[in-house]
């Protein structure tokens, strides 16, 4: 299982707005996610889940509002804190021409991962790609690429994981494997925010569900009967 030494990093989003021309992707979104929380983001296509996650990661600048990561170093902007966060997006964020190992080695070097060789070997073993470590990524199936993408996000043992539909491309066994990894991370104190479509093995991990509708928070529920209803809502759309 994935090890974790970092403490969970909390995240605070205050009055976040994101506008593309005249279209609002997010409107006055405020969320406070405590360190160690596991949150599922639900909502139909175009509700603003991806934009919210990319803003939280520091990849997209909000039109207005404030993002702060809260960790042992105190509160700071995502730009200074993203190196502590792991992000898995819609795309794999990996180089097709490089092998799985070269991709991980590159990002391990950029992130200054201590004892990178051991860490990479361990991650490749955990994602079940040890034997394909030397194969170029372009020869991998979508599911295998997604596993490498997840390994990349875990390289630095992040205190905060931002996952945008992380089960994309994974078969049922792969989804179960991912659920196991995320469960271990959650139990070790890592903060997890993941966008999901409907209930799945992954949604069962969430202790809190937030539903976005047209760029606004429509529901925000912690453990209980409502949690399933919030997640099931997007499935029914």
């Amino acid at each position: 299982m994935v090890s974790l030494t970092a403490h969970g990093t909390g995240i605070q989003l205050e009055n976040i707005e994101k506008r593309y021309g005249s279209i609002y992707a997010l409107k006055q979104v405020s969320l406070e996610i405590a360190g160690g929380e596991c949150v599922a983001l639900a909502g139909r296509n175009g509700s603003g889940k991806t934009t919210l996650l990319r803003i939280a990661a520091g990849l997209v600048k909000p039109t207005s509002g404030r993002v702060a990561l809260l960790d042992a170093q105190g509160a700071h902007g995502p730009r200074n804190g993203t190196r502590a966060a792991g992000f898995v997006g819609h795309a794999t964020m990996l180089y097709e021409e490089l092998t799985a190992e070269e991709n991980l080695r590159l990002f391990a070097r950029l992130l200054a991962v201590p004892d990178a060789n051991t860490r990479i070997a361990r991650l490749l073993r955990e994602v079940g790609l040890e034997e394909r470590r030397g194969s170029p990524l372009r020869t991998f199936s979508r599911g295998m690429r997604q596993r490498v993408a997840i390994a990349r996000a875990l390289l630095r043992e992040p205190g905060l994981l931002l996952l945008d539909e992380p089960a994309t491309g994974l078969d049922p066994a792969g989804t179960q494997w991912l659920a196991g990894q995320l469960r271990a991370l959650r139990d070790a104190g890592c903060t997890i925010v993941m966008s999901l479509h409907g209930e799945s093995a992954l949604s069962a991990l969430a202790k809190r569900a937030v539903r976005l509708e047209r760029g606004k928070v429509a529901a925000d529920t912690r453990e209980g009967a409502d949690l399933g209803a919030v997640l099931a809502f997007s499935d029914a759309q």
Binding site: G58, L59, V60, H90, M93, L94, E96, E97, L110
Partner: protein, 224 residues
């Protein structure tokens, strides 16, 4: 991680991906070769005409080839959102530019060094005596092309009609560089070759100004 260490890691990635795909080098070499060969066959210039028109022809070929090469520089980082991954991983985004700039300069410079002997043979302009001086002018010109082109490639990659956007922004901006490189090269192509330091100084100044601008504003160019 220091800027130099990050840049060297990213440069290694640029070189590895390019030498595996050979996308940029092939495009550039084939384009310049075609221009040089076709121009030679079409106009059949004498040695004197080659000395007069050769520098302009060479630099125009380099310029158009560079705009082709630089087009995909940031576009291919968008295919898998690898630019996002880099932005999340590096502390200083200037390292991303610096690595791309170094790789682009190297690819352009290599291509030019390969094309100059072809030009010498086809146009009957002996250049053996001025190889070091010519290499200096080619390097400064390539660096200027690469620094401007890399920055504008980041801008145009996010725009609609990006295929049109890059040459449209790049070509007017490179006019001073094109004039200085052509004039410096023309002085070396002369029957009494000499290195014109005034044009070399303009080239170096262009490079420094645009590198500084990228260093100051590069971060904003990478934002979504």
């Amino acid at each position: 991680m220091s800027l130099l260490a990050t840049t060297s890691a990213l440069l290694g990635k640029e070189l590895r991906t390019e030498f595996r795909s050979r996308e940029l080098l092939t495009t550039t070499i084939v384009f310049i070769l075609l221009v040089v060969v076709l121009f030679s066959f079409t106009f059949d210039p004498s040695a004197a005409e080659s000395r007069r028109f050769g520098p302009g022809l060479l630099w125009l070929a380099f310029l158009f080839a560079a705009s082709l090469m630089l087009q995909s520089c940031f576009v291919r980082e968008q295919n898998n959102d690898t630019l996002g991954a880099l932005r999340l991983a590096v502390a200083d985004p200037f390292a991303i530019f610096l690595a791309k700039l170094s790789a682009n300069t190297l690819f352009l410079f290599l291509t030019e060094l390969l094309m100059v002997p072809v030009f010498t043979v086809l146009y009957n302009v002996p250049l053996l005596a001025v190889v070091p001086q010519l290499a200096l002018v080619l390097f400064l010109g390539s660096f200027g092309l690469a620094v401007t082109g890399t920055a504008l490639s980041a801008v145009s990659a996010q725009a609609r009609m990006r295929e049109l956007m890059l040459p449209l922004l790049l070509l007017p901006l490179l006019t001073p560089l094109l004039i200085a490189s052509t004039e410096a090269t023309a002085a070396l192509f002369d029957t009494k070759p000499a290195l014109r330091w005034d044009w070399v100084a303009i080239l170096a100044a262009f490079d420094v100004v645009f590198l500084t601008a990228v260093w100051l504003f590069g971060e904003y160019l990478l934002e979504e």
